[in-house]
Every structure is written in structure tokens, then in C-alpha cells.
Symmetry: C2
Subunit: 242 residues, 2 copies
């Protein structure tokens, strides 16, 4: 408890500065790609030291709210794409609604015998055929996620005759009357392995965000399991807990 | 669509190997900190090439399932702590239930005038006092998260007379009859700034996981806003979508 006798020691002096700038950005007073005032001007406006301003700017950079251009100063970052995994909106829907342009490229599609991992996660027999599809998705032309879909064959006959670059949820609903009703999702930050990193044009080992979804239809049957490998700075995940 | 004419080109040969090993680890056939067989033995057992085994091991390392010790080989990682943000379990509860030892250290506690950011997020008037508390939480003695709690003063008088290292949710329920009923959560991977990195004993700029929670009580009133800065490899977040 020795910390508590001199609490000021540990309270970062830059927090009010960080808060002031974060508020200006979040409330829309400062626009995406707008240049911030110089550190000197900020320290005068906010009545604080250059050191505190600098620390606040570094904090905001790390939180992903601003970025720096050499010799040109600090700028407001475009906001992340808000993704609510609880909603049933497709990638195309939520990206479009936020004013950006989604696109999808199918990298490969195959029928493969289920591995033990597939059997366990998809609830199929070992060795039974499954669909294995790799896709790459872009926002405004920039690749942001590589995904691996493993889909049951028996309830989706002739899947490969359809356009696989569309929303898979919509395809399953429209053509097979299987409606996504429930999903189990888990996620954590993870470094990108070679294949994913190459497709996303970043270095192997760059930090990414791993999201895995097990989807069930209106009968409670598992339809597919998706593993998504995102760049780390694209999404802001939102959800509500009751 | 040229990819689809030669799909094998893009299907990583190591995926079945990755799946086989991932299944052995997830199903408990291989224990935490167990050494994996050598790459030579694995390639014989799994009837594949040394190159495919090596690529599968690198993939599993990046997914956080295994780790490498120089000249000693590959080992199974201890599983991440499963955290379900939708549940109302406290840190102490879910860590204990998973067989690990939680602890909490209060770094600082202060009453501070609300910044614009506070006013916006906590729904208080600008300049009105709020509690500002920094804590560090450990699992098995290792610091894993630094958190900044901003709490309303008016509904929690004399908060600092209580033990602030306990679960804040429990403290609010037991002593103030304010029950956590609803939370808005958002999260994304973010680099750790200096203060957080130092408290967690990692380099500044190391990747972390940022989780922010706005908590409401049974009246729908915002009680507190928490910002948590986690090491990136501690949590596995699980949730259900309907």
C-alpha cells in the first residue's frame, strides 16, 4: 500500500491531455486525416508542458487514434470498422454501412476428407468430405482479412456451382434455406503465419486478430466453422452484455 | 478465377498436419508443457515431409498453441484463460475456476475533476469529481493487465474506505446495492504505451489487447467506465451470438 501514500507519483500527468484530444477526435470535432496543431501550440492551448503533450500523443498513437508522418506532424486516423459479432450483418453490409467498399476474392476451393480437427469442430465423421474454402477480403481495395471456411457437404450439395465471393450466410439462406441462428465465437490477438501474412502484404509474425466462428442453423445443426485472420488495426469489436 | 484451375497450388500442405497436432492439444491428448516429438519423428508418424511438419509447427506457434525452447524442441503451451465478457463473473472468479491464482494491486487512487472525455463517457458534468483508480492484476504472480477505473462519486460515497483490490462489481453490490446489469464492451488489439508496458514488464509498443467496458446498474445508470490493457497472449475471449 506504499503507493497510496504518494498517489500522484503514479498518476500520469498526460492523461488529461490524452482525454482532451481523444474527446475532440471521438466527438468529430477533428476529422479523419486532419493535421493536429504542433506540439508547441498544443502545450500552449492546453496549458501544459511539451513533455506531457508528447506523452499524450504517443499514448494516442498506441491506442490507434492518431498517426505520425515524418517531419509533417500528427494526424487523425480514419476510424476502425465497427464490428458487432452479435449481429447477423454480413461483412458486405457492415462495411458498406460505414461508408467503405468491401470486396472478396476466393483464393481456393476444395473438397477434402475431414481431419480429426474438422470432425471434432464440424461434427462430421473422420474422413468424410468437407468443403475447404480460402478467401481474402478487402476494404477500399486493401486486404484486411484471410479466412478459412470449413463447410459441411451433405447439407450444401453443389456449393461450388454458386458464386463463393458473396456472403456465405446469404448464400446458405437463399439457396439452401439454412438460416444462421446461433454462433459460438472466440477470438484473441495472434501473430500472422506465413500464408496469411503474405496474402495481407505484411511481415510474417505481424500481430493480427484471430476470430473463429462456429455457426449453427435454425435446427441447431453446425453448418460451418470459419477461422479469420485479420490485420490487427482494422476492427473495433463492440458488444453488449446483459 | 485463375486460382481455381489449380487449387492445390494455394492449399497449404501443412494444414492437415496443423489440424492433427491442434486436435491432439485441444483434446487433451497432449498436456501443457509436454514436449512434442522431434520433427523427424513427427514427419514419420504423420507420413509427410519435414518441410510440411516445420510449417505446421510455425503455424501452431503463431496461433499460440505451442512454444519453442532453443535446442530443446517444441512444447505445448498452457492454455489461455477463457474469458466470457457476457458473463458477470469477476476476474477472481473466472481465473480461480480455471485453476490459476489471481491477485490485484492498487497502483493509485484519486478524486479528480471530470475531463470532457470523462463527462461524455460517464455521463457526469465537466469538472465534477470522479474517482480515478489504477490497478494491476496478476495471474500466478505474473502481471497480465493494467486497468484504469473511472467511477461516479455521487453514488459511491466514501469508496476509498473499502478494500479496492477486491472485485469492484462485488464491492458495488455488497456495499452500495448497485448491481451490474448491463455493459457495453469494445475491444481491439493495441500497442502498449509506456506506463502500461512498464507495469507489465514488457517493451513499450508490445502488442496488447485493449478492452473498454461501460457498466450500468439495475436502474440503467452508468456506474463506471473501465479501460483494460492486457498482454496479448493471456485471454481467449468466448461469446455466444443469437
Amino acid at each position: 500500500m506504499s503507493d497510496l501514500t504518494s498517489p500522484l507519483q503514479r498518476i500520469p500527468k498526460y492523461m488529461p491531455i490524452r482525454d482532451a484530444l481523444a474527446h475532440q477526435i471521438e466527438s468529430g470535432q477533428r476529422q479523419s486525416n486532419e493535421k493536429l496543431p504542433s506540439e508547441r501550440v498544443l502545450s500552449e492551448t492546453l496549458a501544459t508542458t511539451r513533455v506531457a503533450v508528447r506523452e499524450a500523443l504517443l499514448m494516442l498513437e498506441m491506442e490507434g487514434l492518431i498517426y505520425r508522418l515524418d517531419r509533417r506532424g500528427w494526424f487523425v486516423r480514419s476510424p476502425r470498422i465497427i464490428y458487432s459479432p452479435q449481429s447477423t450483418k454480413s461483412f458486405n453490409q457492415y462495411v458498406t454501412e460505414q461508408g467503405a467498399l468491401p470486396s472478396t476474392e476466393v483464393l481456393s476451393m476444395q473438397r477434402l476428407p475431414a481431419t480429426e480437427w474438422d470432425a471434432q469442430h464440424l461434427d462430421v465423421d473422420l474422413g468424410q468430405d468437407i468443403y475447404s474454402i480460402w478467401r481474402k477480403r478487402c476494404i477500399n481495395g486493401r486486404p484486411v482479412v484471410v479466412e478459412h471456411l470449413r463447410i459441411k457437404t451433405q447439407i450444401f450439395p453443389d456449393l461450388f456451382t454458386h458464386d463463393l465471393s458473396q456472403s456465405m450466410t446469404e448464400l446458405m439462406a437463399k439457396n439452401y434455406q439454412r438460416y444462421l441462428t446461433r454462433a459460438h465465437i472466440h477470438l484473441y490477438p495472434a501473430a500472422l503465419a506465413e500464408q496469411q501474412a503474405r496474402a495481407l502484404h505484411v511481415n510474417v509474425g505481424s500481430m493480427g486478430l484471430y476470430i473463429s466462428r462456429t455457426n449453427r442453423d435454425q435446427f441447431g445443426v453446425i453448418t460451418d466453422v470459419n477461422q479469420e485472420y485479420w490485420l490487427h488495426d482494422i476492427l473495433d469489436l463492440h458488444f453488449e452484455a446483459q
